[in-house]
């Protein structure tokens, strides 16, 4: 299997990549780790005429402290996130999530920016950036803007990025003192999620929920924050029955997917079970 013919560019600066993108627009595709795009190109589901490789732009690969936030370059790989001491200390949710994406080889090439921009409805990273309250930086030739994670995922394989924009940075608040977890139900450990639940809690005395943000992936056309569920738990004392009752609302207002791995009924049930389990596991972490 090999892709259709295309012209390949390896820009060494962001400016150069943006110029190429503004020239070729819809006929061009950006190449990050290639772990999704090259599959699509080999299957001829994607047939870009121009391929712009972001792999030679040095200043897109970093993890650094920026005030009370952590800034992650779009070309940072899952493996780098998994091994980052800074993230382990201040934003362990991203570390826990990166650790369960695909397999070693995929984690060595696949990037956070590629995963978010690709917006596979069953990808793991989108759930984690939603629950951690991250913001994403989109840059075009004449400027830049910040997009909230909640507003980034539009539908299957579609994000808020315009065709002339490049996602360059993910900025996540430090979550020291929060309880976080990502739990994924998948046919095999290296597979995409049937459902994946990211949870981020702040607990007060007596397990009172002082803050909650969740991210759900795999359940519908895009990763989302289950607002009805979050509202039901905000301010409540988190005990077994409260959690179980609220978890039933995780797919409220959502059209739940159906495919060979799970019917929509089974997937909803799984989402509820994993939601309750994620909250309890986070509390005990």
């Amino acid at each position: 299997m090999y892709p259709n013919r295309f012209e390949y560019f390896a820009p060494t600066s962001l400016q150069e990549a943006l110029s190429l993108l503004s020239i070729y627009q819809d006929e061009a595709k950006l190449l990050a780790g290639g772990q999704s795009l090259l599959s699509l190109m080999k299957l001829r589901l994607a047939n870009p005429k121009y391929l712009i490789d972001l792999g030679h732009i040095a200043d897109l690969n970093y993890i650094r402290q920026n005030g009370d936030k952590i800034a992650i370059g779009a070309m940072t790989t899952y493996a780098q996130i998994k091994d980052s001491e800074l993230l382990r200390k201040d934003c362990p949710l991203l570390v826990k999530t990166a650790s369960v994406v695909g397999d070693v080889q995929v984690r060595n090439r696949g990037t956070i920016g590629g995963s978010l921009s690709h917006a596979d409805p069953a990808a793991d990273m989108p759930a984690a950036v939603l629950a951690s309250g991250a913001e994403l930086k989109a840059v075009h030739l004449n400027g830049e803007r910040w997009i909230k994670a909640e507003e980034f995922f539009v539908t299957t394989f579609t994000t808020a990025l315009a065709p002339n924009e490049i996602l360059t940075e993910i900025r996540a608040p430090t979550l020291a003192g929060h309880k976080t977890i990502y739990l994924k139900a998948a046919p095999r450990p290296t597979d995409f999620a049937i459902v994946g639940i990211a949870a981020c809690l702040r607990l007060g005395p007596n397990n009172r929920c002082e803050g909650i943000a969740m991210g759900v992936t795999g359940a519908s056309d895009k990763a989302y924050r289950p607002q009805a569920l979050e509202k039901a738990l905000q301010g409540e004392k988190l005990d077994f029955y409260t959690i179980r009752e609220a978890a039933a609302r995780v797919t409220e207002g959502i059209e739940v997917n159906e495919n060979i791995h799970a019917s929509s009924g089974f997937r909803s049930h799984l989402a509820q079970v994993y939601t309750a389990r994620a909250i309890q596991t986070a509390m005990n972490s």
């Binding site: 013919r5 090259l38 080889q105 060595n108 090439r109 450990p189």
Partner: protein, 158 residues
């Protein structure tokens, strides 16, 4: 066409390649290193695993042009003289049946032992998560990697 220059197993290579040529096909057809196998061509089986700038990767999920300037190690490059201890352990522990997955398995094992010379069973199983074997049932492969780690550890102590 693009001119690429790279190092494979310590040796310099330079070729004109089509932009759509996959690294696995470059290795086998241009560099004539046919030890690396093509299994699925879709990124799922791990038979094409090589080491790319120190990291295990699937060479069917990379374009040859992306390897410009890179340093690669393939199965041909791991033995200094005779067999590498991982290769010997695969033979000693019967970790090879049809042999199709073997080059990829050995490269994943090699990448693991470079980073973690004394892995436990869970770490070994995690390291070969991306490599499928249709024959052995994995148990012998896990034993072989564990055996190789001890063997390399012993020879380094000497």
């Amino acid at each position: 066409m693009h001119r690429i220059k790279l190092k494979i197993n310590g040796k310099g290579f330079e070729h004109e390649v089509d932009s759509r040529l996959l690294l696995i096909h470059y290795l086998r057809e241009k560099a004539r290193l046919t030890g690396t196998h093509v299994g699925c061509d879709t990124g799922n089986c791990g038979a094409c695993t090589i080491i790319f700038n120190g990291k295990a990767v699937k060479s069917c999920m990379i374009l040859a042009v992306q390897a410009n300037g890179a340093e690669l190690t393939t199965i041909e490059g791991i033995a200094q003289n005779g067999f590498h201890p991982i290769q010997e352990s695969f033979m000693d522990k019967f970790a090879v049946q049809c042999g199709y997955c073997t080059p990829g398995m050995i490269m994943s094992a090699h990448a693991l032992l470079l980073e973690n010379p004394d892995p436990n069973e869970t770490e070994i199983r995690e390291a070969i998560e991306g490599n499928l074997c249709m024959c052995t049932g994995y148990q012998q492969i896990v034993e072989a990697i564990s055996h190789a780690a001890k063997k390399i550890g012993r020879s380094e102590k000497k």
